[in-house]
Symmetry: C2
Subunit: 476 residues, 2 copies
């Protein structure tokens, strides 16, 4: 059978079973697998078991990987949910695709402002409302539905598939990185391509593929002026206040245009080529919708391409807050003794974390030298995470682009994300293979918000894209 | 009897009864009259009753003034302790002195790090340790002990005395200001001099009189960038962050030398005259002890006189903190939507609150115009309190200086305080008379700290100074 004919058969089968897929997603959403709530851990485990059973009915070999314990804030320990490692097919003549997704969800309660019970999947106007519908139960189930469709039609599956399905994603992916490292030469060794199924389109209507993520360098700027908090009436005007030094330093980091003022910080940023610039031109982006979503008056940049570049391919610096200063309501006339300013720099290719760390240290030292203050000042890189970038012309991306054109009749936008998904980099490092972010949900799905939803059309089209994507991979 | 002879008789009587005075203070300290602890309100009331009884045994007419209710944070109401209004003598040929003090104390528990039970007055090395010993039960009882001494010696009292003894001083003096305003034409009308008996020497050994307090203008600088908190990965680099504007503005307020950078802010500060400069020269001040007490490395100014002037007669600006920003431990990659910077300016003669408010508003507007930010920014004077200044050559001050010389054999330093005691200004306004701050405790008494103490020598000498001060007033 030709690829086109197969696509049509699969698409028809999927369309004919829409109700079943909605019911299946409804079953999954009804399990409140909130990873952030320790008392809900049995529900998370139930979700793992539910998924394992479903996979096993499809003939997928499932192994449950123990990733140890979580230490709660009260000191007690709680077993982390097992990670599902699934294997479907081991035909050495076929390519092997590894799919990553997660089964846990963000917390949700009707009283948070939901229009319907969050753990009862509810259809309204072609949308399926419920916690986990789009993040990430809908996408995970979609991949399994596609395997089922091939089986029901007695069609051979085009590739081997491996699954890594975790259940702590919404709470820091505890234990996953170590697990993947330990699997490098076993479970991960035969993988040809990795697809991360846990992101969203740039907009509401046009599909996209994501080929980059920014990294992060999170700094603690520590200033100490005295051995105790002081009264501003008694001491104000005569001592070097920690807050004055801290605010002065924090005020030298970024200008009113979002430009970072740390010397040489942009040196390692890859120059914009004409070729890369061309990638931005076709991207559909609604600046007004972006402002409206964020609830801001306006963006710093006025041109669409510039806005996107400053989200994705240029570094940015945000001032998050101060620990140790007066943060309450009302008036307190305190001179805080010890304050820690928190700021982070989003890093992009080819910025090195070690370079950023050194430049920030130099910057702080230079400012403090000018200030001639006796206070103890230090700056520490508290957390560093690398950027991730893939080649959007890599064969896997081309396969996904073709699949999108086949289903949606339009080229997907080639986009990035401004934030980090650390596990992406881990998968790339441990497999050494190309990683693709293939979103099927829309930007307005409200993944972590009230009234999270998944459009039925995206659910159905997503599966069709997945099917064609598998077939295109088989041709490589 | 000559004044000198009378002084000697009184001094001898006081010295002969030292044990009784320590016992009396011990009785008062044993009542844990903590005004900040609502459940201790009966103890505060008991302290008021104890004092009233003692005063009545001395023939002082006592009226208990009801100052209404306190609204607790849980919404419930609690009766405020009555304010004691005492009247001793009404001889129109004599001057009338009004004495202010308070009967409530700061919280204290042995587990806070006290070396002995805070509510058991404990003598060690000539010092009386206990909560309230120096703040303010010791000083209040001293005035009453002096009256008793004159009575025991059958000496006519040199002046009429009025007392205003409140019991909410450590918790904001709830209700006192309104009470004083209501008493302007009755209880307060015949007063010639006011003495505030609730402050401390500048150092540990040399007495002082205080003739000035700084005022305060406390500002809320409000910046709002969006309708919700944003993720710095998704939005960092493209929007005008509230924190960036806030920190930039806060960074323009004061330089590394403590100099306030708000245009024209120093215009209303009275120029330093040679005469005023002379006042500073004899003052004993131990810079090293000051640094050690605060736990700072060094002061901004190196000269003693300059340090004192910057505490007392120049304005200062302190940055207290930020409400609404990330203030916790760890890393949070938030762009806070709405942040409120808290800072205050200590004001001095002849700065007007209204002028300071206008200059700060202008400053913020000027900076924001330069920044060209779309964010909503406003600055609000949240609280304003005037400075207070008296003439240290006023007859009442001269009387207190003579009394100090007579007892200590040394001229007291003429000093000020950098903080505010708002009730001082209220007394001055409602009586229209000269107000004197007459401290008898030392700077290391630890009024609000663990191991609060009152030196026996200061207790005894304080009473002697009070006695002579009364006699000197009678000569005016």
């Amino acid at each position: 059978m030709s690829s086109d004919d197969l696509n049509k058969r699969i698409a028809k089968y999927l369309d004919d079973h829409q109700k079943d897929y909605i019911q299946r997603l409804s079953d999954a959403v009804s399990i409140p697998s909130v990873s952030a709530w320790p008392e809900h851990r049995p529900e998370v485990v139930r979700m793992v078991e539910w998924t394992k059973s479903f996979m096993e009915t499809l003939g997928i070999t499932v192994e449950l990987a123990d990733v140890g314990e979580q230490k709660l804030s009260d000191g007690t320990k709680l077993k982390l949910p097992n990670v599902i490692l699934g294997t479907y097919g081991n035909d050495t003549a076929k390519k092997t695709v590894m799919i990553y997704g997660h089964l846990d969800v963000q917390p949700a309660q009707l009283s948070d402002g939901w229009d319907s019970e969050p753990f009862v999947l509810t259809e309204r106007d072609g949308k399926l409302y419920g916690r986990g519908s789009t993040d990430d139960k809908g996408p995970v189930i979609s991949w399994l539905n596609v395997i089922e469709a091939y089986q029901k039609l007695n069609e051979p599956f085009p590739v081997n598939v491996k699954f890594v399905l975790e259940s702590m994603e919404e709470y820091g992916s505890d234990g996953l990185e170590d697990l993947l490292k330990s699997l490098k030469n076993t479970f991960l060794s035969g993988v040809d391509y990795v697809v991360i199924s846990d992101s969203y389109w740039l907009g509401k209507t046009k599909p996209c593929l994501q080929y980059g993520l920014r990294g992060i360098c999170y700094f603690f700027l520590d200033v100490e002026c005295s051995t105790k908090d002081l009264h501003s009436g008694c001491f104000g005007g005569t001592i070097h206040e920690a807050m004055t030094d801290l605010i002065a330093i924090m005020g030298t980091l970024v200008d009113n245009k979002g430009h970072i003022l740390i010397d040489r910080l942009y040196d390692e940023v890859v120059p914009l080529t004409l070729e890369e610039e061309e990638l931005y031109k076709p991207i559909t982006f609604d600046t007004a919708a972006y402002c409206s979503e964020a609830g801001v008056q306006s963006t710093i940049q006025s041109e669409k391409d510039q806005i996107l570049m400053h989200r994705w391919r240029y570094p940015s610096l945000s001032l998050h807050g101060i620990q140790g200063a007066f943060d309450g309501c009302g008036c307190k006339t305190v001179i805080p003794r010890h304050v820690i300013g928190k700021f982070s720099i989003r890093i992009v290719p080819n910025m090195k974390i070690s370079t950023v760390e050194k430049l920030v240290e130099n910057h702080v030292q230079t400012i403090m030298k000018e200030r001639n203050s006796p206070n103890k000042v230090s700056v520490k890189l508290e957390h560093g995470g690398d950027y991730w970038i893939a080649d959007p012309n890599n064969p896997q991306y081309v396969a996904a682009r073709k699949a999108t054109v086949a289903v949606h009749g339009i080229e997907p936008d080639l986009t990035r994300e401004g934030g980090s998904i650390p596990i992406t980099l881990t998968f790339q490092e441990q497999t050494g293979k190309n990683v693709l972010l293939l979103p099927i949900g829309a930007s307005d799905d409200g993944a972590h918000s009230q009234n999270e939803k998944f459009d039925i059309s995206n659910y159905m089209n997503g599966m069709k894209v997945m099917s064609v994507y598998f077939q295109e991979l088989a041709k490589l």
